[in-house]
Each structure stands twice: as C-alpha cells, then as structure tokens.
Symmetry: C2
Subunit: 517 residues, 2 copies
C-alpha cells in the first residue's frame, strides 16, 4: 500500500513508529502493535504500527522522527507499506517461555531484533521475565554477551595493557572509580573507564565526574584523552557499545529484575577492548548482594565468562553494610574523591581503592608484587592526584579545582541523634532514597554527609547526618523520610534492638532499591 | 500541574493515554510509560503518559478519546496532573515473578488495575509469562475467577435451570453450539449462549450465527430474547462480563500462551448466571489438547473450579483428530447447522451434539434418563429445528431461511487427490489456516468443504476439498497453502507413511495454531 509521509513528533525512546489511518490498517488486516515492512526509495525497515482516526487521514503515513531518520524520508515522500510476519525471534522467545535453552544462533536473532526494534514490549517483557525465572546457563550467558558485542560498536583504544574496573553497585556514596582510575593510570596502565549516570542511585560516576570536567565525548575524542592521560572517566551512554542493553534496561527497571547483569556488563568491557578487569561486589545486608556466599558464586560466573570472552577477570567482594566514605550526592562525592587523592579522604574509601587497584596490579604484573601496598604508595605520594589533574585537563576541566571550590546545596539541615549509644547499623538503600528526595542527582549540590558510621559512639544531640539541597521543599521532604526510615540506627547494644523491623498488617509500598549497572 | 486539554484521536484499544509535552514531563520528573493521577472537575483517574515535542505544546494535555470520555473532558478544559506512584499490584506481579503464590486480595488488586488500565504492557506480559511458567494453584485460579467476576457485569436472566455449554476450541468446522443450543432449549431448559468471533479460527460461533440473525445485543435485549425463546446465540464481546480478560487476551495472543483459560471461561459463565455447564474438549493430535490423559486432568480442574464457583460442571472429551462436519467458514457452517437441525447433517456433528446435550440433560434430570437418546429424539423429531426458528426470529432474523438461501463464495476451486488409497489423517490447524487464507472470517462466504474424512476411500482424481472465496487472489493463495501443507493425507497404508513430518535444517516459520476462547 502506498502512503504519503506525514512526520509526527513523538517520543518513543528511539523506536520507529508508523501511524496508519484506521481504514488503511483494516484494509491490510492490521491491528495496533502489528509489524509492517516499510520501503522508502532506498531503504526498508520493519516497524511497529499505531492506528489513529484523526492524526493521519487515509493514504497518509504518520512517521515519528526515528522512522523518518532511519528511512531518510520527509513530508510528502511516498512509502510502501505491507504487513510483515512475526519475526523468527518471537518463536525463540516462546521456546524460552517453555524453559528451553537457546543456542547462539537463536539468541543472536533475538538480540538483532531487539536492536532493530522489531519486538513489542509484550515480547520483550516475556523474554526478560522468562530469563529471570529460569536463569541462564553459562553457554547462554556467553551467547548473549557475544551477540550484544556483535550488534554494538567496538572501540580500538591506544595503549597497551588495557585494564578496567566495574562496580555492580548497591552501596551509596561509593566513589571508588574516581580514585581508582587515576591510581591505576599513575602506575602506567591504561584505563578507559566508562560509567553510567544515576538511574536509581543519588549519583552515578558520570554525574560525579561531571562536577570536575565534561564527561560526554565521541569515540575519537576519548581516544585523544587516552593518548594524553592514558585514562579517562567518561559517560558511556552514547557510545552504543551494547545497544540491546538500553532496551533491556527499560523493561527490567519497572520489574526490578536484572537477569542480564553478566552479559550486559561484560559485553561493554569487551567492546572497550579491556584485557584485565576487576569487579567490585559490595556485599552486605543493605547491598545488592547479601552474603559472601552469594557473592562468591556470582564471582565465579564473572571469571568464567571473562575467560570465554578473553578478559582476565578477578573479583573483589567488599564490605557493603554501609555507605563508603561520608559524602553522598554528585558534588559531595566529587569533593570526597579529590580529598582522598590529596591524602585527606576517609579510610574506608582509601582501603577499598587500594585493595581493588592492588588486585589489578597483581594480575598484570609478571613477577610477584604487593599490589595494595603499591596502590597506597601511588596515592600517598601524590602521583595519583597528579594523574587525576591530567585526566581532568584532558577532558577539558580545570585541573586546579579544589574540594572547597565545589558548590554544594545552599540549604542544609542537621539530623541529630535523640539517644546515646553507638551506631548499630546503617541502611544503605534508605540513605540513597533520602539523598534522592533531597534532589540528587538532578540537583548536583543535593545529597548528604554521614557523620557517624557503624560502631561510632554517639551522644544524644550529636549530628548523625547533614542533608543538603538547593530547594527547601525537597529538604523538608527528605527530612520526613529520615523520620520514617531511621537510616542510622543508634542504640546502647544489639540486644536492645532485637526487633530488626516491623512489618505492619498493611505493608507500605517502599520503593527504595533497584537495579543499577 | 495544570494543563489545558487538547483531544487527540488515537487508537489504544480502550486505554486512556495522556500525551504531555517534553518540558512539562521533565518538570514533573516523568518518563514515557510513567503513570500520572489526572483530576478533572469531578473525576480523577490514573493514566499512563506518552511524551511528545510537537503534538502538544507546554501547558497542553493531549487526551485520547478514552481519556476524554472517562474524565468527561473536552477541548480547552483544565485538568490537574501529578506524578502517580507505582500501583501496589506491581509489587504482587513481582512476587509472582519470584514464584510466590498470590492470595485473593493480591489477585484482586492486580485484576482491578488491569480493568482500570493502570498497568503497562511490560507489567502485564511479566504477569502472564510468570503464570504460564509457574502454573496456578486451584486457589489462585478460584481467586482470579472471582476477581474477574467482581470487576465485570453480572447478568440476571429470566428462566430457571440455566444451562450452558462451552467448547475450548481447536477443531475446525465445529458447529456444535448452533445445533446444541436449540436442542437443549427444545427440552425446556434455558440456555443463554454467548460466543466469541473468530480470533485465529476461520469462524467463531458469533460469526456463523450472524449469517442467520443479528448477534449484537445489549443485556436488556438479550433478556427479551430469552423470554421469547428461552435461548439465544449472541456475541459476548460487548457484554463486559470479564473486562480484564479482554486485556489479557491481547497479551496472550502474540505469545501463544493461555494460562488464564480456566478463570477466563468460568468467570464469564458465572457472570451469566449459569447453573449447569458442559465443557467440550476436542482432543487429538491436531487439536489444542493432544491426549485423553491431558484432557482428563484439565477436566478435573474445570469440575473443581465449577464447584468452588457454584456451577455444576461436567466435561465431554471429544474426538478432535479432524474437523467436525464437512463445512468450514461462517456461511458454510451456518448451512451445515441448519442442515443438521433439519435432519440432513453429518453424522459426527449429530453424534457430538447429542452426546454433549445428553450430558446436560442427565445433570439436570432428577431421575435417570438416557440424555443422548433424548437429544437425538429432539433433533430428529424437528423440535430442535422449530426452536432454532424461534431463536432466529427472536434475534430479528428470517426464521424461514433455508440452507440454499445462504450465499457462499462466488469463486471456488477443487482440490483433487493425486493418488488412491484412503485418508490416513487430517490436519486440523492447517485446514483452518487454508480457510482463513481464502478470506474467512471477514469474507463470510469464504471457507472450504471437506469431501473426504479420516478412513474414507479415495481414488486418484477424487475431490478432497472445495475451497470458496469471493476473491480470486485469495483463492490462489489458499491453493498454494494446500500444496505446502498437504492438509488431507492420502495413502495406501499407514506403513507407507511412517515419516510423519520432515523437519528441514532451516525450520520454516508456520503460524497456524493459536489460542481461541
């Protein structure tokens, strides 16, 4: 059926959509969400349709910007539309619903159709849900990783011994990457760290680094930065390393499931050309992974997948029972990273960075070395800080920025303890929720400083938290959450707090902890 | 946020959609597919949003017809929009993904949000997929049925001893309902049969009955028809008996899964006030249920669920290895129903109707009777035909319509056997696909007549099928399918055809058999 293009502006998250008039759709026997094959002069693609009575007249084809771009069409152009069958990959998704294992060919067909946007939300959600319920074999995990690499961009970076670090998240205030990257680079290794922005946390590494320097670059620009500083700290969002993953995250996020964590992380590392990789796994009751046993199992999977993809992988299972460092929020954490590099940082952050960097050093070294000791030397000697200044400069920031130059929220409020004792435990996810309520990560100055950490002595009236925001309404609402959540639990003894949590008859709907890659 | 209504015509299958400008959405921190609470002067509802740059300007609220109707708003009205949290039912869907059993309260929350259209396709698909993978306990099945009844309309029909019949489908050309309903009513029982139109079959009962009389009625009109004829054969599509099911079907259909079959069928029967129910389960290699064993398990579930809902339920497991009768397609099957009622129908259809009606008679009777014999008497004596004329008249059709008055496709083509022997087997689903290719159910005259059935002797050159259509291109394309599918397999002996099917290295994507309620 020939139709005349009428561009219609519609946000679909990159999905090409064709809007057909009801009459035309009926003539072709099409319903909403059916697929059609659309041919323009030179290109053809499969698209999902929507049906409208009035947005387009019979004979017109409403095309959103994604469709116009991909078909290279504009107002008044003519396109040819025919009904398209169900893609073969849908049959493979049905096999997965039935619990069958999928081979590489079938997984690749699914991933290709995900990238080409041929699948509907119903089909994608059925796939992700099935993966989450059945789990994946290592063969499937490998196939998914390889298919995601094959459908994405690969980057050939300058420099030898490309190393990388990834944190699976779940620990608020964790500024490890911003200290580890310059430390590793100061040792002469090349580390091209791509990070995400916050989805559900108060600050992603990209959000924090942006306080010190720009983080959005094209691939060629990243190569230039690496040439200058043999390191970078950039946003990975537009590099298109594993475009299938962007689509999967949109399905996983509302369902709070994350069956694709391994292939999603490892495919991006492979696409960046990483040869040595350390994975940070914060483990603890309030973190994403609850026990060392669970973390160990997952670590073996990472290491095995790394082998299959040609990445030397090691894992560090780290203490995740409370936030790392004291500061939470983009600006506050950027401050803490700089303080640490200048030798004035919190002990736990320093310890964590040195341990993880040490693992990398020991992997790369030909002879036996004490990696952690070397890492501590690089930080304490100022070499890591010097490297950070190079990175900031290479990314276009001011290398002489001082922690005190960084603006935090104009308004702040103290949260004081109403009893004496010591900090029994700290609630990670609740701390993150409070920082977000205060405005982070959008309000870069928003967040909080934790004044007392697990085991610290507390007197009645002592400051537990300082919450920052640029908006007083948000500050109030964060303070309300503090009262509701009791994020830092103070008591005289553990015996006094045997009741860990109350579950009332009517469970309130708390939505505080979600996946973050 | 106050917005001014701008109606936008968009087909969303009954789902209210609000389109917001990107700026406004960002201000409220909303993404595509997020939920908002919308308040008009007197009403408020939760709606899912879409985001557009140009369809609506900042300050405008694009509202589709469903949203306008439900909020009673029009162009220029002012509405108030705030971000709405994730509904509680999403938490219960997540519990189902984790394999937990859901109680009535949780299931009801989900069903209510389904009916109110508060859930996204991603959430709905995750729910349906999880149900399909884990299966449901009988308690969950009961809860789902009751929640679906509670969120739908209930009908109080005149007449005592309300009986009903349901076929779970999968057998082409099955015209049982159109003969059974007048037979049962001729015995003095009341039977208000609601049927569906075809979704994936060549003809639903509603499509066939529409050849003889109108089938779309409001509840009050159905009551009048029942008063006149103590029976009806109407379309159930607009009665809103279990509105949640309409939404579920849209998810299940593309995934070819049907986890809600029991609650979906039984909730509608309960809503119609049925007291006695017989379920027809066509069983055979080409049908939906493959073995008598599987059918028996399912039958016990139907009977147990019937008990819990207060419906006396019995099941008939019927021969489903080939189509019932000879004619397939709306007009052709209407002919066959009339022929059978007039004493000239195919033996298998007569046998099937009498057996199933007999089960109902024996359930309802206080003393021992031979139900099947009674049913055969009612048909052979012409009493059932007389009742059918009453039903046709009560629904506004011409009671004197003759089979020969019914127009079938103007064009037809013979399919002849290229060898001698006998019919070894017949492919149900493939027969349905061919009839649909010929144009059924949209082209009411399209379809086919089967000339030879399982076990019949065939000489080379004998007619196996006659295909009808009003469109020669469709006739050609149906003929092509015949060649590809070999729907009627002729041979000298079973030994000759030990190879049942070839599975080539590259599997062609056949999409011929799908759920139909």
């Amino acid at each position: 059926m020939k139709l005349i293009v009428k561009p219609i502006e519609f946000e679909t998250g990159g999905k090409p959509i064709l809007i057909m008039n009801k009459q035309d759709a009926e003539f072709l026997g099409l319903h909403s969400s059916d697929r059609v094959l659309i041919k323009s002069k030179k290109k053809k693609i499969i698209s999902i349709i929507d049906i409208s009575d009035k947005l387009v007249s019979p004979g017109e084809a409403g095309a959103n910007i994604d469709l116009c771009t991909r078909l290279n069409i504009a107002l008044g152009h003519s396109i040819d539309v025919v009904a398209a069958g169900t893609p073969e990959s849908v049959r493979f998704i049905k096999e997965k619903i039935q619990g069958r294992r999928l081979n590489y060919k079938k997984i690749k067909a699914i991933i290709e159709d995900v990238v080409e946007r041929h699948l509907t939300d119903v089909e994608l959600s059925a796939f992700i849900t099935s993966l989450s319920i059945y789990g994946m074999s290592m063969d499937e995990t490998e196939s998914l990783s390889k298919a995601m690499i094959q459908t994405g961009k690969k980057i050939k970076l300058p420099g030898k011994k490309l190393v990388d670090k990834h944190g699976i998240g779940g620990c608020s205030g964790d500024t490890t990457s911003m200290v580890l990257v310059p430390t590793v680079a100061a040792a002469g290794l090349t580390i091209a760290k791509t990070s995400s922005r916050a989805i559900t946390s108060p600050a992603g590494t990209a959000d924090k680094m942006e306080i010190l320097a720009p983080v959005e670059f094209k691939i060629d620009e990243i190569k230039k930065i690496i040439k200058k500083a043999n390191a970078c700290l950039v946003w990975g969002g537009t590099l298109d390393l594993a475009p299938a993953d962007d689509t999967f995250v949109k399905i996983e996020y509302p369902l709070s499931i994350d069956p694709l964590m391994l292939p999603s992380i490892m495919s991006k590392k492979k696409a960046m050309g990483s040869k040595y990789l350390v994975i940070d796994m914060p483990t603890g009751r309030g973190a994403k992974i609850k026990t060392v046993g669970a973390a160990t199992s997952l670590a073996y999977d990472f290491i095995e997948l790394g082998k299959r993809l040609g990445i030397h992988t090691a894992c560090g299972i780290t203490y995740g029972e409370q936030p790392i460092g004291y500061r939470i929020g983009p600006a506050l954490e950027a401050q803490e990273a700089l303080l640490t590099l200048k030798g004035n940082g919190p002990k736990d952050l320093l310890e964590k960075v040195a341990s993880l960097a040490g693992i990398l050093f020991e992997m790369v070294a030909k002879n036996h070395i004490d990696g952690k000791k070397h890492a501590l030397y690089l930080i304490k000697s100022g070499k890591a800080y010097k490297k950070m200044k190079q990175i900031i400069e290479a990314q276009g920031g001011d290398p002489n920025i001082k922690p005190s130059d960084i603006e935090v929220g104009k308004k702040h409020v103290y949260v004081r303890s109403n009893k004496s004792g010591f900090v029994l435990w700290t609630k990670n996810a609740e701390i993150a929720a409070i920082a977000r309520e205060a405005g982070a990560p959008k309000d870069k100055g928003a967040g909080l400083i934790i004044n007392k950490k697990n085991g610290d002595k507390v007197k009645k009236g002592d400051i537990l938290l300082i919450i920052y925001s640029n908006n007083s309404a948000k500050l109030d609402s964060a303070l309300k959450l503090v009262k509701e959540y009791e994020p830092i639990v103070v008591g005289k003894s553990y015996e006094e707090r045997l009741l860990l949590s109350k579950v009332p008859a009517k469970i309130p709907h708390k939505r505080i902890f979600l996946l973050e890659r």
